[in-house]
């Protein structure tokens, strides 16, 4: 049994306006199907407007799709009864792109991280604090940060707190919705490093949604390309991706910038 199975998901936003002036079809997701196995990471690459975020929400169980099924550990998350859903939810967490808007500005780091713990594990005050400190240390922060408020952290640090909250319940799958995109390069790579460490330590699976090919490849086992709501192709390796003939993939590939000036294609001039 696969950890996550997405079957034939279709979704479109219908405008609930009284008068329809133009007959627009707003298809966001078209016939999306894929599978994520336990302990693997699926990277989904797409430009803005490709339907990445909607797909993330559908999988997280907060945006029922108009058609299709999302099976998590074999259960349809939209058809499960309340109790099962609560259990499923525990195993399914998220880290969003905008670290600032992902935390309540009026709560301390401790409060933020302990929220899931409060909901699922009845711990004593002391135990809970210990757990939070453990989590903070695990993501590279420390005890001193417990009482700090979000505005006292940098974007990267906040993203670590978001990660700590996501792993607090030891989930099976974490949806990383552009989780590193708004960070600068250095921070980005540090967070990516942390994520792949955590993946190994906790046996996590990721759905890594991004527009950054390099970042996607750095932690993914599988890569999918999403374009205008369609999942174009799925690749098991970089080689597969780089040998694809699909025109959209080709354009994507062409846009990747050289990693060393020796391989530059845009300009040649340099002394």
């Amino acid at each position: 049994m696969s950890l996550l199975e997405v079957k034939q998901v279709n979704h479109s936003y219908d405008s609930k306006k009284l008068f329809k002036w133009k007959n627009q079809s707003n298809k966001i997701l078209i016939d999306i199907s894929f599978v994520i196995e336990e302990g693997t990471c699926l990277g989904l690459i797409g430009t803005s407007g490709a339907g990445k975020s909607t797909l993330g929400k559908v999988i997280l169980g907060i945006q029922p799709p108009q058609e299709g099924q999302v099976l998590f550990q074999g259960n349809d998350i939209y058809k499960a009864d309340k109790l099962t859903r609560l259990k499923l939810r525990r195993d399914l967490q998220v880290v969003f792109q905008d670290s600032y808007s992902s935390v309540n500005p009026r709560m301390t780091a401790e409060q933020i991280i302990s929220e899931p713990l409060e909901n699922y594990e009845k711990l004593t005050v002391g135990e809970q604090r210990r757990r939070v400190i453990e989590l903070l240390e695990r993501v590279g922060l420390n005890e001193n940060d417990l009482k700090k408020f979000p505005h006292q952290f940098s974007g990267g640090q906040l993203q670590r707190i978001n990660i700590a909250r996501a792993i607090a319940l030891k989930p099976k799958l974490i949806v990383l919705d552009e989780s590193v995109s708004s960070l600068d390069m250095v921070t980005q790579s540090l967070i990516l490093q942390l994520l792949s460490e955590l993946k190994d330590d906790f046996g996590l699976s990721y759905l890594f949604i991004t527009h950054d090919i390099k970042a996607a490849f750095s932690i993914s086992d599988q890569i999918g390309v999403l374009e205008k709501g369609e999942l174009i192709e799925l690749y098991d390796s970089k080689d597969q991706f780089f040998s694809s003939k699909h025109p959209i993939v080709k354009q994507l590939r062409d846009s990747i910038l050289a990693e060393h000036p020796r391989f530059r294609t845009l300009t040649t001039k340099a002394n």
């Binding site: 430009t47 846009s255 990747i256 050289a258 990693e259 060393h260 020796r262 845009l266 340099a270 002394n271």
Partner: protein, 276 residues
């Protein structure tokens, strides 16, 4: 003497301090660099390292009431630091052009692209409206922007970010400035637009011999574009080097870390991009 002349823009011992009630705090210090004619100087650093402060100092756009700028900034041997606003205004847009990070917010939303294009031209030349318009159209044609007449009539919100960024570059290059400062010009764009914008920048450079100060945190952009690179960290320059040297043989620990930790597509020895 001759060597000195080749430096279009020179910055020496630049230090910027901001005065607050608690005292002054230093934003950048000991900044030294030169840009030669036709050179692209890459400026790398993470957010908050002082990249934008530096470029704003060159343009003298800091609020002088609350900021102290010391050191020397010379353009064609002319000292810019401390220059009167009136004089500086003649230089901005004409001799030093600026390309902003987020093109969607850079244009005044209520005026057409053409209006702003013509406005720029006319504030630096004595051209008539019609001539300025022709100049703008020509410029846009020469940088391969499709259907310039139509584009000029559009409002900023009607264009995509990539398109706007290209218009902005055309606008910057239009008066053939000596230096273009491009502050993270591709960060807000998707991959394909990024490619188009970078191509365009290179075209401007080779066509007009414009020098470019290219600020970016993306090493990919730097490796594609820059001739020389300065690496900044916490308001200081930690390393200045030729782009090849920097990538092959980084000296400073910070640079090494930058190169080491970045996500790559290396397969065995070569990056995939090279294979294509």
């Amino acid at each position: 003497m001759e060597k000195k002349n080749r430096n279009i823009l020179s910055v020496r011992d630049l230090q910027v301090q901001v005065r607050t009630k608690e005292g002054s705090s230093t934003l950048v210090q000991n900044i030294n660099f030169d840009i030669k004619k036709g050179e692209i100087l890459g400026l790398v650093g993470e957010s908050g390292s002082g990249k934008t402060v530096t470029s704003m100092s060159v343009l003298q756009l800091h609020d002088r009431k609350s900021m102290d700028i010391t050191g020397s900034i010379t353009l064609h041997d002319r000292e810019l630091n401390g220059l009167e606003n009136k004089e500086m205004r003649k230089i901005r847009g004409k001799d030093i052009a600026f390309i902003m990070q987020n093109p969607m917010n850079a244009f005044t939303p209520v005026f057409t692209i053409g209006h702003q294009f013509i406005e720029t031209i006319r504030s630096h030349t004595s051209l008539k409206n019609k001539q300025a318009k022709d100049l703008a159209t020509d410029m846009m044609e020469s940088v391969n922007l499709p259907d310039p007449d139509k584009l000029l009539k559009k409002y900023p919100f009607q264009l995509s970010g990539g398109m706007l960024q290209r218009v902005m570059i055309a606008m910057a290059a239009c008066l053939k400035p000596s230096v273009i400062i491009a502050d993270e010009p591709t960060t807000a764009l998707d991959l394909h637009s990024q490619l188009l914008v970078l191509r365009l920048l290179d075209k401007i450079r080779s066509k007009y011999g414009t020098s470019i100060l290219l600020i970016s945190h993306d090493l990919g952009v730097i490796s594609e574009m820059a001739d020389n690179v300065i690496v900044m960290k916490q308001g200081r320059i930690v390393e200045t080097a030729n782009v090849y040297e920097l990538f092959d043989n980084p000296q400073h620990e910070y640079t090494k870390k930058l190169l080491r930790t970045r996500p790559t597509l290396y397969s065995q020895k070569q990056p995939y991009t090279y294979m294509l």
